[in-house]
């Protein structure tokens, strides 16, 4: 990504060369659309600091992801009258993945009339950076009564960055049950992966530099819906 943003054409041509360090493939579509309406950026990597998604953008992106989830549920598993939605479990990763999962479920219900099971899985006790960052307070882990065995679990998080949270979440899931399949939905994919992990559903793909921070604010937690890109200040840890 150091040589500047790729175009949609390049994305198609190089699909087979996809690297885990790049933003996920679904994000490419979104990002290229966004870029086409903007003037060409300078050659510095990353996005200009500022508001990346407004409240209306967040709502639109969540709607699109909900539609994609409906589609995936219908095509993935055995055919069923409810379009496979009974099979689907959205598991949010606290803090902001949890309300995001509930929102996606609410939108799926609005579009299809079918409710979807939602859970949260706190991954703090599974993190590999506790020694580096110190302990933190735990958040709830709640699974639907039907459990996750044999079902399609979609992990939901706000930002996909290093991939370490997702790795921890995968470890947690392994202790919680045995899903038929696990997929990943994130609101923002900012690249810079440190593990071979890639999202299946991406709200917005954002090229960033490592020094930048991507902050997702959700009304349930922060009182407002928005996604910001900021330059990291001081020693504050990146998301």
């Amino acid at each position: 990504m150091a040589d500047g943003p790729r175009t949609r054409v390049q994305y198609r041509r190089h699909r087979s060369d996809h690297s885990f360090n790049d933003p996920s493939s679904e994000a490419g579509k979104e990002a290229s659309l966004a870029r086409s309406s903007e003037p060409a950026r300078s050659s510095t990597p990353g996005s200009a600091p500022g508001t990346l998604l407004s409240a209306a953008d967040v709502a639109r992106v969540v709607d699109r992801m909900a539609h994609q989830l409906i589609e995936r549920a219908a095509t993935g598993g055995p055919a069923s009258a409810d379009g496979g939605l009974a099979d689907l479990v959205l598991v949010g990763i606290p803090t902001r993945g949890a309300p995001l999962a509930r929102r996606l479920a609410a939108r799926i219900q609005a579009f299809t009339g079918t409710g979807v099971d939602v859970g949260t899985a706190d991954i703090t006790l599974y993190r590999d950076d506790l020694r580096l960052r110190g302990v933190r307070a735990l958040e709830p882990t709640v699974l639907p009564d039907a459990g996750i065995d044999g079902r399609l679990v979609v992990l939901v998080d706000d930002v996909l960055f290093s991939g370490r949270s997702v790795r921890a979440a995968l470890d947690a899931l392994r202790d919680l049950g045995r899903p038929r399949s696990v997929q990943l939905a994130v609101l923002v994919d900012r690249g810079h992966r440190e593990l071979p992990i890639r999202a299946d559903f991406v709200g917005k793909n954002v090229p960033t530099s490592r020094s930048q921070q991507v902050k997702v604010h959700l009304a349930e937690v922060d009182g407002v819906d928005e996604v910001l890109v900021t330059e990291a200040t001081g020693t504050e840890a990146a998301q």
Partner: protein
């Protein structure tokens, strides 16, 4: 949080609440799971250093550490070099050389964990020292009260019995006061320690007068092994004046609970029918002990080594 947990006073209100909240989250996360194990303390070593007999506390700490994937070494004074005359310090240095990240210590001498904390680099958790403190018991008691009654602030807790020899009472008075509960001690005058007037608790001698105003009654074990003098005329008289039987339990408010740190002297400080009643939390206390101690180990050891 401080690096060691030696006494209830090591925890301020925020720390104590953090421990209880963490224990609740751990409880919830592990409920109904087939794999009741978390990888959090993988590669850490916890030494259980027990100079005094213990069933539930040692097993509880061992299970807590193992559920967090720590390596556990159990060391009891019997059958070790201690019986050959090795001092506490030399034992501590041996453990230090073996790289213990935490030492859970029970000792017959009050203050032994404090001494130990000066000798080892890891965290020291007091699992009961003499007649001094037993902070994790107080934490699990507070957790149990909060779980049953939904709050701690303003809860009226009556602690009954052998306060003089009870490290459980001392730790509970400190911690429950920190968490906003109102504690009353009821005991024969001979079984109250000198200076009890300076504790943040009321003191009474008449159990029947206090029971109707109690949300929680915590019965203490009569510690015959520590009694080298006659503190009361006979077991029968003690039981009549300070034992909790069905008649006294009936005097409690409707939602009040009965606690006992164990092991119980059934028929002495607590009647069997009370110990086995629905108000009794004695079995819950044991279960809660594991999650509370997991929370303590996580908060002390989970973060950076220093």
């Amino acid at each position: 949080m401080k690096r060691h947990l030696l006494e209830a006073a090591d925890l301020d209100r925020d720390d104590a609440t953090l421990v209880l909240d963490t224990a609740a989250q751990i409880d919830q996360a592990l409920a109904g799971r087939e794999v009741k194990k978390l990888p959090t303390l993988r590669g850490r070593t916890v030494v259980n250093l027990f100079y005094e007999d213990s069933t539930r506390t040692r097993i509880s700490f061992e299970l807590a550490a193992k559920r967090l994937s720590a390596d556990v070494i159990n060391f009891s004074a019997k059958g070790s070099s201690v019986s050959k005359g090795e001092s506490l310090k030399d034992t501590a240095l041996t453990l230090e050389a073996m790289g213990a990240d935490a030492v859970v210590v029970r000792h017959w001498a009050s203050g032994a964990p404090h001494r130990l904390a000066n000798w080892v680099r890891g965290s020291v958790v007091n699992a009961g020292d003499g007649t001094h403190e037993h902070p994790t018991q107080a934490l699990l008691d507070a957790y149990t009260i909060r779980q049953r009654l939904g709050r701690l602030d303003g809860v009226r807790v009556t602690i009954v019995g052998d306060v003089l020899h009870s490290r459980v009472a001392r730790s509970n008075v400190g911690l429950l006061h920190t968490l906003g509960a109102e504690v009353t001690l009821v005991a024969p005058p001979t079984l109250l320690p000198v200076g009890v007037g300076s504790w943040p608790a009321e003191v009474g001698y008449d159990l029947d007068a206090v029971l109707p105003k109690s949300d929680v009654v915590m019965m203490l074990r009569v510690q015959a092994e520590r009694m080298n003098a006659s503190y009361f005329p006979s077991a029968r008289e003690y039981s009549r004046r300070y034992g909790l039987d069905a008649r006294r339990m009936a005097a409690l408010p409707d939602d009040a609970i009965v606690m006992h740190p164990g092991p119980m002297n059934r028929g002495m400080e607590i009647a069997a029918e009370v110990a086995d009643s629905v108000r009794s939390t004695i079995v819950e206390q044991v279960a809660n002990g594991v999650s509370t101690r997991m929370a303590v180990l996580y908060l002390l050891l989970g973060g950076s080594p220093q």
